[in-house]
Symmetry: C2
Subunit: 134 residues, 2 copies
DNA sequence: GTCTTGATTTAGCCAAGGCTAAATTGATAC
DNA sequence: GTATCAATTTAGCCTTGGCTAAATCAAGAC
């Protein structure tokens, strides 16, 4: 058997993107639902402290995904918006795919949250086709 | 819309288990394939340094999943063996499920590696049923 | 028995994502 | 205009999982 680090290397890279994707998605949801996105509300929804959220937001600002002034609400940059839209789309495909398969609502929600970041474009297309036909 | 930290909290807990599961699976594979499991070979297969692997092994020893004496090969405790067997089983179900769906070999391998840790027992049973019938 | 060599371990660094406590600020009430 | 209060930020700590360089050890060569 040959040695295959590739899949594990990819896995580590995926992990590094997960937080960013979850956060931009959340910010987009809040902008839509509440009209604005604030650190405290994000923290509450993720179940972490506001400090943790704040630090992650700082990183996302450095990565030009999030835009904001000190002590003010958060916005997405065009880059952040694009990521949010793509993430949400992928999330929905995974979630609907699981439900179509017969996974109960709540379980589908929880599992989709974990699975979505590890579904490659190829697999996603297959999930989508399955939903449309199956 | 209500606030739901639960799914994200579960996600963080899942992450904390991932490394342990990947490592006990790998150790089991090496014991079977090579007769013994050594730090260097594990590191090579995961694509990380031997030092990183060593530190993770130390943690797994503290958690009573791995057993070994300094400078010697690694073994699984009964607890570690049990985890390895369950992980491998779940991994195989996810992998075969993806292939059954039509995902190509290599993609199925990569995606399964990321997805497996986020598939709940309920969803896993549905995957399994789909394979047996579908 | 000693030497060499490759494997393992230790030391010490970094980033990410957790936390609490304390300081700062914005906005609202008065 | 000032005081208050909640939200935000800073400071400082922890763990995990990365790394390189250096020290230690086991095992085979001689």
């Amino acid at each position: 058997m040959s040695v295959k680090p590739l899949k594990f290397v990819k896995l580590r890279h995926a992990h590094h993107q997960e937080t960013a994707q979850d956060y931009v998605e959340m910010i987009q949801d809040l902008l839509k639902e509440e009209g604005e996105a604030r650190v405290t509300e994000i923290a509450k929804r993720f179940g972490v402290s506001a400090v943790t959220t704040h630090k992650i937001i700082l990183r996302l600002q450095k990565e030009k995904l999030v835009d904001s002034k000190p002590y003010r609400a958060l916005f997405l940059t065009p880059k952040g918006k694009k990521m949010a839209i793509q993430s949400k789309k992928r999330h929905n495909v995974v979630y609907r795919f699981l439900k179509k398969l017969g996974v109960p609502e709540k379980t589908a929600q929880i599992d989709a949250e974990g699975i979505e970041h590890h579904v490659s474009p190829k697999t996603l297309r297959i999930f989508q086709k399955f939903m449309e036909q199956g």
